[in-house]
Symmetry: D3
Subunit: 145 residues, 6 copies
């Protein structure tokens, strides 16, 4: 891939690797800003809010700019499409998620005019609301900001 | 996560990391079978076929058993949901994909009665059929086999 | 169910039962008009056309009235949602269908002001384009006409 | 169709026929296990639970095996796609369902290596939460187990 | 367009123009019946109910005829597809709508046998449940009645 | 609505009104850039291309900047969701569209930091590939750029 910084791959690694495993990738994170978080819920609104709150608290987006909220929201929703595989519904479909997530902001392209982009990644489990009755799930959303 | 082997995470790493980067995870792959491949197309049927062919050639599924083809097919489709974020259409929506993929087969759960499961992961780019006009994308599908 | 005539159930029986099996239901068909047909394809447009053509040839709808074509079209599409389970795509998703179908026109409700309705049913197989690598599928669409 | 046992067709008959009507098909049920049930709700989670509970109580799936829960869950969801025709939402879309359902477990294929499969069928009504303002609906999901 | 009356365009104008702006189109409304309304909610059921109630109160559909309720319901849902752009979910996806809507009933086609049709239009905003964090949205549904 | 310029409404008017009808809105277009076009096809890729080409030729987006192509692409797709009402497929679903479209670029919000946004609107007909067997359709997509 001819991109300068693979913000999507970095987001996926932040969401899925342990701290130890992340060590060998540490230098890759120098060129981006990012945050990490966790959320478990049967309520999709809570999943969305958890990512939005983490991104704002960590300065990944400017809280009072709708433009940036809009960019983040669509990146979150695209990540949720991967997590829920086409049906962005959790509790109503009798399932629950336990997710780690990350938000990465950086300049993926060589041409500086391409500016900043956001990547939102999820990694965790989805399944019945019964301990152990679950399997892994992943999602990634990317948007210009 | 209380799973014994995170076949989904392994599949994502196989699809997104370079050979060098994969080295430090090598021991994790002892307990599973897997294959890797590449496909670039505006035609989703070709993407599906590329994964099915690789999985059969590498013995990940038994070619003449519909049961296993069925399990793989649904895992592929769930992975494609992440890649296409809810609209499993590529060329008709004027976009193209360049993907690395992996298929992992193993026993993710401690209880041996839970048997074997499949993970199918995609990592690469999706975008306009113009060089460079693309961003990263990821997908993961999991199924019992 | 308080309906006078279950046109949906009749459509499903017409699509899924053998001629012999249908014999014991024969009297139920006195109050409705219906036709039956078959179609096998990887192309959804051909599936839609097969039903439209059969319905017109058998006088189930008035060919030159868009109003009736429109009612039939949406009943067909709703039936296809069941057949394809949420993704109205066949060939592009590397699958093929072999279907029997029926169109039933009648007055399902006791109140005569509720007028005529259409039911379109499909029964058959969906699967990989390989003999035997397929399972059953069903779909039903209902619309006022 | 070259299948040995049409578990999908049997499931549809169990969900849609009266006890009297089922009599003439009785011998077909010798080779499969099945259960029947009823559920009426504006809440999809209740529909899913009703089928899962019936299937477990009647021994159609092994309650403590996630593998079997997973197979059943996806068969239920595919059946719900037919019932809701592409939008797996009931109450939020201001509609309610009154459904009879069945779960059938058996070996549909001649080759014994193809093993056991599940069919989940729904038949009933969908409509506004007003008595009589409803029409018929059908859904069928099939999965390997 | 060869239609006699563009009920969809009229519905869109009724939903999006101010009273003053509508003045210059006044003569176009002579041949149709219509009503207008407003609704703001995170709950899609409330949006659907608001349109149904307005249509019944203003005599656009006959309240006790399921046939007409059914035609209106599907026109509303098609309009909501435009408003929500493919995911008919509001609050669960952490968004809210503020909408003006209209229902138009008339005979769009020259051939009188084509009879009456309904158009339902929405215009307003969709966005985060935070004042100002929203953008415009539009939807139109058309059905025969 | 508290927006400074309703770019979505302007886009809808440009796509649906005749030149004469647009005259009374002329002053509203002083603050935005826009273009108009037409496309008729059974192929969605052609619809997308027609809008992209018109937007580039008229300088609505910078041709060689992926960032702007990406913003436009998603606005087009959201507009197509309204046109196709949830199934972004035309020919494969045996239907054709005849559309007028517009692209509007401007600053909708009072706060200048919210910057520029794009609106893409469609108005026209969708229906069977038979003259007259069609009804009106509308779509609007909005994105930050």
């Amino acid at each position: 891939m001819s991109q300068k910084v693979a913000i999507g791959k970095l987001a996926i690694l932040l969401a899925s690797l342990s701290e130890d495993e992340l060590n060998s990738f540490q230098s890759s994170f120098d060129e981006v800003n990012y945050c990490q978080g966790k959320v478990g819920s049967m309520n999709m609104q809570k999943v969305i809010s958890a990512v939005e709150t983490a991104a704002k608290r960590n300065g990944l987006i400017q809280e009072h700019l709708y433009r940036e909220t809009h960019a983040l929201y669509h990146a979150i929703l695209e990540g949720i499409e991967g997590v829920t595989r086409g049906k962005p519904v959790i509790g109503e479909m009798s399932r629950t998620v336990g997710l780690r997530f990350s938000v990465v902001r950086g300049c993926p392209y060589h041409d500086s005019k391409e500016g900043e982009w956001l990547a939102v990644a999820f990694y965790g489990t989805i399944g019945a609301p019964v301990k152990g009755a679950e399997h892994e799930t992943v999602g990634l959303g990317i948007n210009h900001i």
